[in-house]
Subunit: 449 residues, 2 copies
């Protein structure tokens, strides 16, 4: 397991240029632990250590290094060595790395890479971001239907060394159409002479190569697979998405949704490694938009200038009234956006949800109105408290409806519902809140607006 | 794969009481697909279909049914049958189900369950919620160090039928101390006479049984395991957490964090299946708290009554000023909370983050102040615009610092940083915003407060 003492030891090896020790270091520990320790060194030092290991071990460790650091590291390596490294890398990790590199650098490398890997790279790079194709690997184990268990195991042994997972074997015909799959567990347990056809699963759950990675994650979560086959529109197997990639997708999507919902354009890298200017920009864009909305609210208040002058006490409760709408709206939006992300809401459920949210809003609005009435009585006359309470009831009910409706509208327009961010809902609800508050007040004091 | 036509077909089988067809239905499709289809039926109908299948297949399908529905289903089954079902279920799924059942029902079942399973149940139920122990299973494959590959494979074949995963074999001594592990891939590729000790990994990455499930998920994500061993404080293997459980944990934790951050107490079940009253309560608790905070802000405004009377124009920009602080605060909180959840921020990084957030706030505050100045000029004199701009600069900078600082403080107090919800940050920032706004105005008009 990760040991904080590894780093000083490693630094000493580098100082003494103790190559046998470095070689041993690369062999003994888990590749992930080694990568973690290496990341604290300079790029040159990392290569000095890594190059002590055999090529396949080099690649294994390299694949655990963060993508951003990988991109830096490849610039320090001569092209022949780099192209060998790329040839051995897992296709999906390789595609991720190449996508992150300077395009000119990639193009200058391509001629040095073997034909088979080159066309694999071109293929994987052609799938759009966030599609099943963009996260899959092309290294899967496959076999023909006619084999026996013993033959299948023998064939698997020849495929195994360079397959990402050998725990599922996909049964294909000559045109690579997917007919079924068999787990290694079943093969191990079956008698050697059993035909694979007798024990394979024919009800294969797969995804199309152009489907969204979130769908892949939801389906993997539902069916508990180690890997999910990816097929083209003809039903031909083109790759697999493995459990570890799905975990990455889930973390990535949860982070993106959280960022969007918090009013930040999603970051490409981790929070820590995002440059200052990029971070400021990704927040600034939203803040400027929200400020424009804020000036809309200022415009509304400007319009009601005369009311403020006559009913000055309204100001006291203004932040409270606006916050109540924003808070319930953001609650509803959170619940709906998260349920949509988990694939829980189909079209039929949406109407049900909307009715239920409206009812919840009504109940919450009523209860908060009572509370607000009691509080407001402490600051002024009954009439003022009535105005505040009625406004709260309306603002909360409408906030709930807006908060749940807007993400669903966005989803049905084919947009990501999570862009209905918390601050945006709060801003919209501010404007609506001012309108309701002032009109309730005007109605109550008998001057219909 | 899931087929919407399965349900009408199944209903017809039930109508005609076509038992052979039901049996075939339970055999042909993926257990997850069957479970999904069954959930549309009544509890009695589900059992009529399920009981056609053999016991192990019944359990396989049953385990894919949602926990809530499982809890309903067990109440319709006689105790002897139910105890048999429980005996065959996977230990982790069984523990989840029992935890969800009425305690009296569980206790009345216990005597009917075989001794070995009974003590396994007691053990698993004793681990606290959200701990590694609460999500692990006790069905792992293990072996002694002295064996050869051929012997290990033979032993695995006897263990395999009732082990959750057989793709990692854990190497234990007599006291069950974990010494290493070997993957089935390595066993398949090695020569039969090779000693397991020669090919096993000795740098085992594990978690302690009382560690948080989020840590398990983060470690699995980092090292790409199919399963992670769980050890007690003596280093003895007590269970494993498998990839599918980690996917569930990630989805659950992301949902909880989103709910908390949106100002809703985390739901136990899915959004759709949470009862109305529970949902209203879990939102209402927060809303009441936030309303109290809102009345705090009203109190501050009440205190500055005289200022509002003299500088009535301040009101126009009040929502804008308060929203600016809330928006930047919630951005910062989102970024920090998410980075903490992903395990990206250690103690050293926290100071760095705080400095960077303050700098970001300064830059964003400055830019927004300029924008606000230009906008505000459209509504009034230069002096008013200056007051608004200076307030925005201060509120935004402080909002950034608060938004990033508060989650870190909560974390260092051992609390979940995600309870620093968006609405709570907005509320705190409202009160601070009013104080800053009015004092800047008082300063500017030359009457020091």
């Amino acid at each position: 397991m990760f040991d904080p003492l590894l780093l000083p030891e490693l630094r000493e090896m580098l100082l003494e240029n103790d190559e046998p020790a470095m070689r041993e270091f690369c062999d003994v520990f888990h590749a992930g632990v080694i990568a973690e320790t290496l990341e604290a060194l300079t790029n040159d030092e990392i290569w000095r250590v890594l190059l002590q290991a055999g090529l396949s071990r080099q690649v294994e460790i390299f694949e655990y290094i963060s993508l951003q650091r990988q991109t830096e590291l490849v610039t320090c390596l001569d092209k022949p060595h780099l192209s060998t490294l790329l040839e051995v890398m897992a296709p999906d990790d390789r595609a991720d790395l190449l996508q992150n590199m300077v395009p000119e650098h990639v193009e200058s490398l391509m001629p040095l890479i073997a034909q088979a890997q080159r066309s694999d790279i071109r293929k994987l790079l052609s799938y759009p971001d966030h599609s099943a194709g963009s996260i899959m690997t092309t290294e899967y184990a496959s076999l023909r239907e006619g084999l026996s268990v013993a033959e299948a195991l023998a064939q698997l042994r020849t495929q195994a060394p360079n397959r990402e997972t050998i725990y599922y074997l996909y049964v294909l015909d000559e045109a690579r159409h997917l007919h079924g799959f068999v787990s290694l567990r079943k093969l191990i347990l079956a008698r050697p002479e059993t035909p694979v056809a007798d024990i394979m699963d024919r009800d294969v759950i797969s995804v199309r190569v152009d489907e969204d990675q979130e769908l892949v994650a939801n389906r993997m979560a539902k069916y508990d697979f180690i890997a999910m086959p990816v097929v083209d529109d003809q039903g031909r197997l083109v790759g697999i998405v493995t459990h570890d990639d799905v975990i990455d997708v889930l973390r990535e999507e949860a982070t993106e949704d959280a960022h969007r919902f918090g009013g930040v354009l999603p970051l490409e890298d981790s929070y820590l490694s995002t440059p200052f200017v990029e971070l400021a920009w990704k927040r600034g864009v939203w803040l400027v938009l929200l400020m424009v909305a804020g000036f809309g609210t200022a415009g509304v208040l400007n319009y009601y200038d005369g009311v403020t002058a006559n009913l000055e006490w309204l100001v006291k409760f203004l932040p409270l009234v606006l916050a109540s709408g924003g808070n319930t709206g953001s609650q509803s939006a959170t619940l709906v956006i998260r349920a949509l992300a988990l694939g829980e809401l189909n079209r039929k459920a949406q109407f049900h949800i909307l009715r239920r949210e409206a009812a919840t809003g009504f109940v919450l609005g009523g209860s908060l109105a009572v509370l607000a009435f009691v509080f407001a009585m402490m600051y002024g006359p009954v009439m003022d408290a009535v105005i505040v309470a009625v406004t709260i009831a309306l603002v909360v009910t409408l906030g709930t409806i807006n908060g749940s409706l807007l993400p669903m509208i966005l989803r049905s327009l084919g947009m990501d519902p999570a862009i209905m961010s918390n601050p945006l809902i709060a801003s919209l609800s501010d404007m609506l809140g001012v309108l309701i508050y002032y009109n309730v007040a005007l109605l109550a004091v008998g001057r219909l607006f």
